[in-house]
Amino acid sequence: MITTEMQEDAVPRFTRYLANLAAQLEYRPRLFLLTPFTVLNGERASRRAIATMREALSLCAEVCEAGHCMAAAGRRATIIRDNYARIVAAIEELPVPAFLKRRVEQSLTEWDDLVEDCAIGSDPEIRAALTDIAARL
């Protein structure tokens, strides 16, 4: 089972960085915050954080039967996804080049996918129905 501590180790800096960026953009929107360097660096950190979380989830692929890990990961991913959504909303108003906006939106989609996967994987009704279907096939 993936412990909360393991997940905290996996993505803490990225979570804090993104929350700070989202807050700054919302209350003091400044163009310099979204230089290509900021966006590309953030994108790389985002990819790393997602890969770490998915890898952590795959470690418990055969032992965690109740979906607790998915629920815990889902809560963390939701915080990051929501901060990305705030950033996307904030930069819509800013004169940020379209290719940079697309990159931020792409990261938002990736996090949203992870939230969706965690929501599906941790739902007891869905898990029961899937097991039931597999047994009848």
């Binding site: 998915r54 989609t109 599906i120 097991t131």
Partner: protein, 119 residues
């Protein structure tokens, strides 16, 4: 040895509805589904199902210039012991923060499949 693909009526309905908006990609999507027979271990695997594998696979709609991340999502069952793949649901990646709708849609589809399978 390639796996058998079991396609449920519920899945066919979802596929038809999804492809209504993207008719030019129908053949490409069918090819992707058929390709699961030879390569079922694709996409994200949901943890905690033991031997049974529940996977999500992303499909790009190139005819509409939609990448895999904004394209379709296919959730399927893979039973390695029985060499069987069963597509469960296919849908277009929609708005952000719609996980509750996706969950409800999947649960409905699973109930329909269970009805179809009977006791």
């Amino acid at each position: 040895m390639p796996c058998a693909i079991r396609r449920f009526a519920s899945f066919e309905r979802h596929l038809k509805n999804t492809l209504k908006k993207y008719p030019n990609s129908a053949d490409a999507v069918e090819k992707e589904i058929a390709s699961l027979a030879g390569a079922p271990e694709r996409g994200f695997v949901y943890p905690g199902f033991g031997n049974l594998q529940v996977r999500k696979f992303r499909i790009a709609l190139r005819a509409y210039r939609l990448s895999a991340s904004t394209g379709l999502r296919l959730i399927f069952l893979y039973l390695p012991d029985k060499a069987l793949v069963a597509p469960l649901i296919i849908y277009k990646k929609g708005t952000i923060a719609a996980e509750h709708q996706v969950k409800a849609m999947l649960l409905n589809a699973l109930r329909e499949i269970l009805e179809e399978l009977g006791d």
